[in-house]
């Protein structure tokens, strides 16, 4: 559950807040669960929903749009992505702008359609597509940058 919260949050503190809210909901709703389906899946859904609620709350408080960062397209090899440290990959996802990160998680990892994502985040389907594409580009660009920095450190020294 914390792994899921970390993906949706911008940092560990926010992830722990999401996790705390999730557990409180779980304790309150446990009596209504009644062995319906997979408990893990139920917990997973509650975690994702709590993260989305936190995002919506923050979005309503903070009206500024997500900054579109430098989007350098490049080539990310399978090996570099697979060999990348989990913490680094998580950090890159966490550093994505809030909206990008939500769409990216929901689409790439949870596998929701853009229409569903649009309904969840209260945005257009087109916006979801565009944000997903930009998130992916931005993430790839950052992975390349990380990779280049690593190479420079190794070969430069």
């Amino acid at each position: 559950m914390r792994g899921v919260a970390l993906r949706y949050a911008s940092c560990e503190e926010v992830a722990d807040d999401i996790l705390q809210d999730t557990f409180i909901k779980v304790f309150e709703q446990l009596k209504n669960y009644e062995d319906q389906g997979n408990l893990g899946g139920w917990l997973y859904r509650i975690t994702v929903n709590t993260a989305l609620q936190a995002y919506r709350k923050q979005k309503s408080r903070n009206t500024h749009h997500d900054a579109y960062g430098q989007e350098n397209t490049g080539y990310v090899s399978n090996e570099s992505l697979e060999n990348m440290k989990m913490d680094d990959l998580l950090q890159l996802i966490q550093e994505l702008p809030e909206g990008f990160r939500m769409v990216f998680n929901l689409r790439a990892i949870e596998g929701y359609s853009h229409k569903e994502i649009g309904e969840m985040l209260d945005i257009n389907e087109g916006t979801s597509k565009s944000q997903y594409a930009r998130a992916k580009k931005q993430l790839q660009a950052r992975i390349i940058a990380e990779e280049n920095e690593l190479k420079a450190r190794i070969y430069g020294s």
Binding site: G3, S77, L90, Q140
Partner: protein, 390 residues
């Protein structure tokens, strides 16, 4: 890299990704849950209190708005308490002279209708001659003998105020005797899983870890007899009592659910703070109760030890039945609101009080002597009473 590959790789990498939360998270969750429970508990008891207070304020304002009418503003109980009863008696024995003028002018009939909600009379028509108000009779009058009861028909304001109302006239000692029935429901002044070792003294008392227990008094029925002195507002009350309660003990993952029935006797005093149709009184009651407790776990039973926790014992050595009986003493202070209905013998009342139990129970078991303590209770009650004698 093809987009699909990128997505698949990211997805597979997060497939089994897990992270251990810091220890502080669990204490934060516990704190947050406790805080929510406290607010919930506070809200549960705040709402009825607010309801009673707002209801009382409403009734009070309705009562006050009737003050325009001199007749309505007179509360019959308090009014008669200030009368010189002896004088009234003498007047009622003597036939009083009443002036009947013989004016040649046409008589003007004036009708006074009191609203049905008047505390004195319902829909009384008063007729009088207009010249009755004239302090100096214009023409020769004849005196006729008329009893006080006949004076009800006159229109003199002073007479009207001092006129005894046959139905509600007080007795010579101005004491009001009434019988009533009150129904009460209670809650612990603590979280429901409060420990019984030290009865919490505040609404937000913390529970401790030495076994949890909770106590809920579901319903209390108490018929009572009350005597109230109308001149000084002091009343005394005696009541019988029947109550049903639940006891819930949790210890080492076992839960023991017990039921209690109580019968008792109470004695209390009150002082009237606000008079009128809507009345408020502060009260202090003391009650003795015989409480019978039975735990309905068939294989084991629980009790509460003198170390402050609840304990359980598996019933390997048959110890049955797990019933306890004891006498306890309690004291309660609170505020009671009463509203006099249009039929003034009938009253409805509601009160909020704080009750403390002084347990005197020792439960003898095979290996232990348990001392049961229960927390203080906040109680809400409603009732109805009927004035039988004044």
């Amino acid at each position: 890299m093809a987009h699909k590959d990128f997505e698949n790789i990211v997805k597979s990498r997060f497939q089994d990704f897990e992270s251990t939360p810091p220890e502080s998270l669990w204490s934060n969750i516990n704190n947050a849950r406790t805080q929510r429970r406290k607010w919930f508990l506070l809200l549960i008891w705040l709402l009825p209190v607010l309801a009673v207070a707002s209801g009382g304020a409403f009734l009070y304002s309705v009562n006050a708005s009737n003050a325009n009418s001199k007749i309505q503003s007179v509360d019959i109980q308090e009014f008669y308490a200030q009368l010189d009863k002896q004088k009234v008696k003498e007047e009622s024995k003597l036939d009083l002279p009443v002036i009947h003028e013989h004016s040649k002018e046409p008589k003007q009939q004036i009708s006074y209708n009191t609203p049905a909600s008047s505390s004195i009379v319902a829909q009384t028509e008063i007729k009088a001659d207009s010249e009755f108000f004239d302090p100096v009779p214009k023409e020769t009058s004849t005196l006729e003998m008329m009893s006080v009861s006949e004076l009800v028909g006159s229109n003199n304001e002073n007479e009207l105020e001092s006129r005894p109302c046959p139905a509600y006239a007080p007795s010579s000692n101005f004491r009001q005797h009434s019988v009533g029935l009150r129904l009460g429901s209670f809650a612990n002044v603590s979280p429901s899983n409060a420990k019984w070792e030290q009865p919490p003294t505040t609404l937000l008392a913390e529970a401790t870890n030495n076994g949890n227990a909770s106590y809920q008094r579901i319903l209390e029925i108490a018929p009572y007899y009350q005597i109230r002195n109308l001149s000084n507002g002091i009343g005394i009350r005696a009541n019988l009592l029947y109550a049903a309660s639940n006891v819930n003990a949790v210890y080492e993952n076992n839960e023991y659910f017990g039921t209690q029935t109580s019968i008792g006797l109470g004695l209390g005093g009150s002082y009237t703070l606000v008079n009128g149709r809507f009345q408020v009184a502060a009260y202090l009651d003391v009650q003795g109760e015989n409480i019978r407790t039975r735990f309905n776990n068939s294989n084991s039973y629980g009790w509460f030890n003198n170390q402050g926790g609840s304990q359980v014992q598996t019933n390997t050595d048959p110890i049955s039945p797990s019933r306890y009986e004891q006498w306890v003493l309690s004291a309660e202070v609170g505020l009671r609101c009463e509203y006099i209905l249009p039929r003034p013998q009938w009253r409805i009342n509601a009160s909020v009080g704080y009750r403390n139990y002084f347990w005197q129970q020792n439960v003898e078991t095979t290996g232990n002597t348990a001392l049961i303590e229960i927390p203080q209770l906040v109680q809400m009650q409603v009732g109805v009473s009927y004035v039988i004698r004044k």
